[in-house]
Amino acid sequence: MNALISTALSGVVLMFVGLFVSNRQRIKYFAIALVLVAFVANLLELSTLQGGSQTLFGMLEISKFGLLFNAVMLGATLLYFLLCGSEFEKVGEHVADYFALIFFILSGIMLASGFSSLLMLFLAIEIISIPQYILAGADKKNLKSNEASLKYFLMGSFSTGILLMGIALIYGASGTFNINELALGTGELHPLTIGGIMLLIFALAFKVSAVPFHFWTPDVYDGSPTVFTAFMATVVKAGGFIAFLRLFHVSFTGGAISQHWLLVLAIIAAATLVMGNLTAVFQQSVKRMLAYSSIAQAGFMLLAVIALNETATQGIILYAAAYSVATIGMFGVLMKVKDYTFEGFNGLARKQPLLALAATIFLFSLAGIPLTAGFFAKYFVLSAVVQQGNLLWLVILAVICAAISVYYYFRVIMAMYFKAGEPEVAPFTPAFKTVLIIAIIIVIVLGVYPGILLQWA
């Protein structure tokens, strides 16, 4: 709750700050301070929260799990601001507004992690989406940015329609929007419920860019200003997943009901894994490769949604953290390199050893190499599915896809270390260096001792 309020307010505040403060650096620092505040507030709540959870008018539930997730998201955002904050001004002049929008998105995510009514889910998703439409198009003169924005907007609102239809049908069957009551109500399986769940799955699958609803992802991520892509691909995506997981974890678990959507979701997950990894292999631009890799990673996170057990929930948190940190870091490096193609990275290790090392660690984490956070993230979701039983084929597939993923992640490493070249690298401050090193440390620490994060859940 603290976090929600503080983020929302921060957004408002920043809007006005934009009017009075012209110095962009200062705005940035201010934003960082605000997110830090939100982070601390959230941690306080997390540490002081006694009992399992408390709800607000049956609309919001404040639970340890949700708060932990918020903490991860806020932490990721903090890192994001620190690494990429100075890139904002390169996009356009409304720096303050961009920050404001990002804060609004954050508040949306706080909702997504705690909603207990379908209405709130709807609002959360809209609050997350609408600012993204704008951020995607923030680079107004750039046609690619425009295109990304329009594409995202059209398809996004289309999926909203489907989401609403799903909600409507479910309401028709059960007569309530409260997800906890839904869970009780779904004893007997009403045709409307099934249809509704299906439509919900499709809509949410769109938000987390799962095949075959993923088509917007590469174009949008590619077209939007890189700095915002970094945010969309990480924090926002994780937010989508928490919504997905929460809805199904609370409402639609249980053998009778889950068997109706399990297979569909499994198929979606499988398709996502295959398509995402396969398509990523042949990309020419690292940015676009990362877009596809985000699809592939979504496939893995979907495994958690499928499994829906203790391990899965732990896994999603770990995954969100690992994936966000690594990807944000990777984008941070990417933005320092002028040329986004793989050739652009040739010989980076010689020129900028630190950047190269950081990129390597982050890519390891994404590929799920042990001793990086990514390994345990993957480990948890995989074991969650194995635990769930009778979906071993999916696990094997996932594992094979993980092997494929090495193929494109390591292309970057090869370019950096084993190919000769003269990459042009934008200058960066010692502060940036320190942040990068911190990010590396986070990745390693989570990889060596994930308990540090899990002990909270």
Partner: protein
């Protein structure tokens, strides 16, 4: 009067909306079709709220509140959406979605 009527009606409107999205190239028209889909949902919700009200549930108003919020969101979306469309039009002098294919593969 069975509620199925309304279900089918709104589904029909919904699907017409989808067809529109599929068939047209003009971004604005597509957007309108999406609005149509939303309205189909609204209609359905209202119908259900009546249904549950008649079934004697006191919180049946919730559905109408929901519709209310949908309208709110729709309005917001329209504001943003039209702004985006205008922006694109400024740069390309067209609202044809098919000329937007710089991003591919």
């Amino acid at each position: 009067m069975p509620v199925q009527y309304y279900i089918f009606l709104s589904i029909a409107l919904f699907c017409i909306g989808i067809m529109g999205v599929l068939m047209r190239r003009n971004a604005i028209i597509i957007f309108m079709c999406i609005e149509l889909m939303l309205n189909a949902v609204n209609l359905l919700l209202v119908a259900f709220s009546k249904m549950w009200a008649d079934a004697g549930r006191i919180d049946a108003a919730a559905a109408q509140i929901f519709v209310f919020f949908i309208m709110v969101v729709a309005a917001a979306e329209v504001a943003v959406g039209l702004a985006i469309i205008v922006m694109v039009y400024r740069n390309t002098h067209s609202v044809d979605i098919n000329i937007l294919n710089r991003l591919k593969n």
